[in-house]
């Protein structure tokens, strides 16, 4: 009933294991993150002299996806330990 966590996501979390979700949707998110980082580097190299850092619209999704990647890695490490 919310955009942040709809019923579909609730059912999905209950129906599939964390392992399955991180090796399917998680892989998609990681590939997206890598592509965004590559595009970000290309845009920086194309637009600005080296050493200058300017925030771009492409940066919006990068920090949350990086943090999500960290959460997933920590979750899997916790499973191993």
């Amino acid at each position: 009933m919310t955009v942040v966590f709809p019923e579909f996501a609730q059912q999905y979390a209950a129906s599939f294991t964390y392992d399955f979700r991180t090796t399917t949707v998680g892989v998609i998110a990681v590939i997206l993150l890598v592509v965004l980082l590559i595009v970000r580097e290309l845009v920086t190299a194309w637009r600005l002299p080296s050493g200058v850092l300017k925030l771009e619209p492409i940066d919006i999704a990068i920090p949350p996806l990086l943090l999500t990647f960290g959460v997933v890695v920590l979750g899997r490490l916790a499973d191993l330990l």
Partner: protein, 266 residues
Amino acid sequence: MIDTEARSAFARAGQPSAEAAVTVAYLAGLAAAELTLVAAGPIPGALAHAALLLGLAIHATMLPDAPYQRMLAAITLAPMIRLLSLLLPISGVPPVFSIALVGGLSLVGVAVAVRVLMVRWADLGFRRFDWGVQSIIAAAGFPSGLAIWVAARPLAVVPELSIEWVVLSIVVFTVFVAGVEGLAFRGLIQTMARERFGTVASIAIATLVPSVLLLSALDPIAILLLTALNLALAWAVDWSRSTVGAIGAHALALFGMLVLWPLTLG
């Protein structure tokens, strides 16, 4: 010379309709990605949302700095929130914890967007607002939550109605759901859309983006009522020039329909 001026004037006049068409196409893409999620499952749905996010982010980055570019950049928050909501939920604990985790990381995206898009908190109505007006707007969330619960009967997201769970759910709903959705959809997207397309279109866009992301609710009455709530909140933000009351109304509606009513009347 006259011909060149006439042609550039014609191009300028044609630009808003082209930009409006592209915006509609992105909204249709968002709806298609959400329907893919429902019809084909989480993996094709996540792929569709990831492709949309990538397209929006690259498109916005390539455009010159302008309200339209910033609006497209703000819309990237929508597929991002959906990807996080598919990946992060924790099973085996009350859903309120999953909401906090997904909402917390989404809030990071919103904070980055506020910085990238150079939006001042005052532009979102956080500095100066009329407490009386915003309190009345916020209070409207209470009956809205009851109406949605009566129509759709969603399940509670906490196990019991104790002080601890009530406080936790109010904090989570206010900061991580209503705060995130209010700032992303009715703060950033609506503000940028108003600068480019005017009041009516901005209210329509700020209503459609979250409503499209609720298509997976599958209950047509719930979708209709939540769309009406989104429309009312977008209108309230436009009218009062502040997101504070709308965030309060949304949080109260969520608390009613996901905690109070299911655990007392359910």
